[in-house]
């Protein structure tokens, strides 16, 4: 095919019915972009700017704002012990939860991929919690953890481990972990399904070649499967990380941040400061939100850089 013919084929003539998207006029592009741009500006861009603005002000009830500069940030960083407690809890929840979430999901997926007995039933059982709302999950687990009539203490008692019975959500040393277990129970199924889909998408010839080379199951997992799943796992890590950094609903339902702020997360603290302190001042909670958002962005950039694949796999 000559160059002229190729050019003719790829650049439709003016006025033809088949104008490619890349050749649309600026006006057409604007018309198509406008709805999304308006929605984005109204629901994302403006709130972000407004939150930034509020964080530098004390906001009065009638919308009257008093400029306080960095006072909210200084107060937050130097005088607010509850904030730092919330940061610590969120960090534990995020780091431990993210690793457990992805690792657990991968293990469950491998279990199903290796055709474990009752794999179809297990897939349904493990995925079902994902379909349940946090409110339902939270209430179920509050009952399970109940000291007097909860199933967990009942089982411990039945196993002769009565000494281990305790108020799982009422003890500051166990409350955060109890909430974390609930969270994992709900989300492991989601990670499992994503990992399972990625596993089935792996090129069978690579796995077949490994088997022909008498590669053991562990070696195949470490040297072939996990490297090939790396993009999927990285995406799951980032998603899980973001989700846990913003953890709110489950904590709110199960403990309200207690006992003694042992399960307080940054999100529950922002909510309390914004809506439960009988004030219309959104300045201080906005400062928390801005600071926390910045930290999330920094961590995600760091994570992405650290886990970025340097060598391109070829298969």
């Amino acid at each position: 095919m000559s160059a002229d013919v190729a050019n003719t084929a790829s650049v439709p003539s003016k006025g033809s019915a088949g104008i490619g998207a890349r050749q649309a006029s600026p006006g057409t592009i604007a018309v198509f972009l406008a709805p999304a741009a308006v929605i984005y500006a109204g629901f994302i861009f403006y709130p972000v700017l407004r939150t930034l603005y509020n964080s530098l002000h004390t906001v009065g009830a009638q919308g009257v704002s008093t400029f306080v500069g960095t006072e909210n940030y200084i107060q937050l960083l130097t005088h607010d012990s509850v904030f730092w407690r919330a940061v610590g809890n969120t960090a534990v929840f995020t780091v431990v939860g993210t690793i457990a979430d992805v690792l657990g999901g991968l293990l469950l997926a491998l279990c199903l991929f290796s055709r474990a007995p009752f794999a179809r039933a297990l897939r349904i059982v493990w995925f079902t919690p994902v379909l349940m709302s946090y409110v339902v999950v939270g209430i179920i687990w509050v009952w399970l953890y109940d000291y007097d009539w909860g199933l967990i203490n009942l089982v411990l008692h039945w196993l002769g481990l009565g000494a281990l019975e305790q108020s799982w959500l009422g003890d500051p040393s166990t409350a955060l972990w109890a909430v974390l277990v609930t969270h994992l129970w709900k989300w492991l199924g989601f990670n499992m399904i994503i990992c399972l889909a990625a596993l089935y998408a792996l090129p069978s010839e690579v796995l077949g070649a490994a088997e022909l080379d008498a590669c053991g199951w562990v070696a195949k997992l470490v040297y072939i499967i996990i490297p090939m799943l790396r993009p999927t796992l990285l995406n799951l890590l980032v998603l899980s990380f973001i989700g846990k950094m913003m953890m709110f609903d489950l904590v709110w339902i199960m403990t309200g941040g207690g006992p003694l702020w042992a399960t307080e997360t940054v999100s529950t603290y922002v909510y309390k400061r914004a809506f439960k302190w009988n004030t219309f001042d959104l300045g201080y909670p906005s400062a928390i939100a801005v600071l926390w958002s910045a930290m999330i962005v920094v961590f995600i950039i760091l994570m992405t850089r650290l886990l970025r694949q340097r060598d391109r796999l070829e298969f």
């Binding site: 009065g60 009830a61 009638q62 919308g63 509850v82 509050v142 953890y145 109940d146 000291y147 007097d148 009539w149 909860g150 108020s167 959500l169 009422g170 003890d171 500051p172 309200g256 207690g258 006992p259 003694l260 702020w261 309390k272 809506f275 439960k276 302190w277 009988n278 004030t279 219309f280």
Partner: protein, 410 residues
């Protein structure tokens, strides 16, 4: 037909109310609306029913945007609507002759009255008469045990394998503090207790420490259930009168709102041996006859309303004596509307008679701590006095220190 009538036909008075799930209250407020419509031809009252959090969110958004209703539900402590300038003062708008002075006083801030109280309640200590008898203990003539007697009662109940006090803080920021707050009120007297709550008196005051120490003894004696941290308010009611049962139940007298409904709707059995005792007398107390009275459901008029007179007329409908009587007879709660001299009848007459006996000679302190405290102090109260201290997680020193740091204005 005159122009005034034509104008009136265009008026729809909007009311936003909480308590959508309490049918007796819904019926009563709707009745007030229909009464207003009957006396003001052409006026329509539209009540929108919310749950509490939904109402809060809606008001927070609507009021600053100038889109709020003419009348809305508020509770004491929600002072942000006053400081924000969203509520019209009611002193000259509403007929106050039907409202108890002490109830109106709750809403008097900076010399003005900001809302009309409808619901009132006192902090009461309910008990199971049969179980008290089973322990071989008689209630004193004034229905009030001493500090030592009460501690002994808790120990006896535990020894008899009874849960002494049904109480849980799974979904509320205040019930765990009933015993401690009432002990502090009696020990300090109303004036100093008020100072404690407003940060003018230190939590390290020896009298305060003494009250905390006594409550710690109760906690250590096993006063509260093991699932105290997760037991929800509704569950704590059931725990007391249905299963597994407890000897005592400190609760606002709004107890009856849940208890006096049919058994199949979660109410107590008709023959449940419900009794009311006074909270214990404290040693060296300033006021052992003191008790907390509080106002609940109240209604305010939007400062931006164009129909303030009509809004006030709606509040006056709610405050009529016959509505107060109907409140008592159908909602089974106390009310801020004057009902003195009312003859109790029906299946709960004995209860209301006993309740009124417990009010004899009482000196009232108005407002629960959660209605008075704000900001960090309120949050610390919820975490420490309501949860961790009665939950046995803190020593007296730690609890006092935490409260002082958050509340005491040095």
């Amino acid at each position: 037909m005159g122009g005034a009538t034509a104008k009136a036909e265009d008026i729809t008075l909007t009311v936003w109310s909480h308590e959508a799930d309490e049918t007796a209250k819904v019926a009563l407020r709707e009745q007030a609306a229909r009464n207003l419509e009957a006396s003001h031809p052409g006026v329509h009252v539209k009540i929108t029913w919310y749950e509490k959090d939904g109402l809060d969110s809606a008001l927070r958004t609507a009021l600053p945007a100038g889109e709020g209703p003419d009348v809305f539900y508020v509770e004491p402590g929600e002072t942000q609507y006053i400081t924000g300038g969203f509520i019209a003062p009611l002193d000259d708008l509403v007929d106050w002759s039907n409202i108890y002075d002490w109830a109106r006083a709750v809403w008097k801030i900076d010399g003005k009255t900001w809302a009309l109280p409808e619901e009132a309640y006192t902090d009461e200590l309910y008990y199971n008469k049969d179980w008290l008898k089973k322990l071989g203990v008689s209630l004193p003539a004034n229905a009030q045990f001493s500090q030592a007697e009460f501690l002994d009662l808790i120990k006896k109940a535990r020894a008899a394998d009874m849960t002494p006090i049904s109480q849980g803080v799974g979904d509320r920021p205040y019930p765990g503090a009933y015993i401690l707050a009432e002990a502090l009120l009696r020990k300090l007297g109303a004036e100093d207790y008020g100072k404690l709550l407003t940060g003018e008196l230190s939590f390290e005051d020896p009298r305060v420490v003494a009250a905390f120490t006594w409550v710690k003894e109760l906690v250590d004696a096993g006063a509260y259930p093991k699932n105290f941290m997760t037991l929800k308010l509704g569950e704590s009611h059931q725990y007391f009168y249905r299963k597994p049962g407890s000897l005592l139940f400190p609760m606002g007298s709004f107890y009856t709102g849940r208890a006096f409904v049919p058994v199949d709707q979660g109410g107590q059995a008709a023959d449940f041996p419900l009794g009311i005792m006074q909270f214990p007398a404290m040693d060296d107390a300033a006021c052992n006859e003191c008790k907390t009275v509080a106002v609940g459901a109240s209604f305010a008029i939007n400062a931006a309303s164009k129909h303030k007179d009509l809004a006030a007329a709606y509040l006056n409908e709610l405050a009529k004596p016959e509505m107060g009587k109907r409140w008592m007879e159908t909602v089974y709660l106390q009310t801020a509307v004057k009902t003195a001299g009312i003859q109790f009848s029906g299946p709960y007459a004995a209860y209301f008679t006993e309740l009124m006996e417990r009010q004899n000679g009482a000196k009232y302190f108005t407002g629960m701590p959660v209605d008075i405290l704000t900001g960090q102090c309120k949050e610390t109260f919820a975490q420490v006095m309501n949860k961790a201290f009665p939950g046995g997680l803190l020593t007296v020193d730690d609890a006092v220190k935490a409260m002082n740091e958050a509340c005491y204005k040095h």
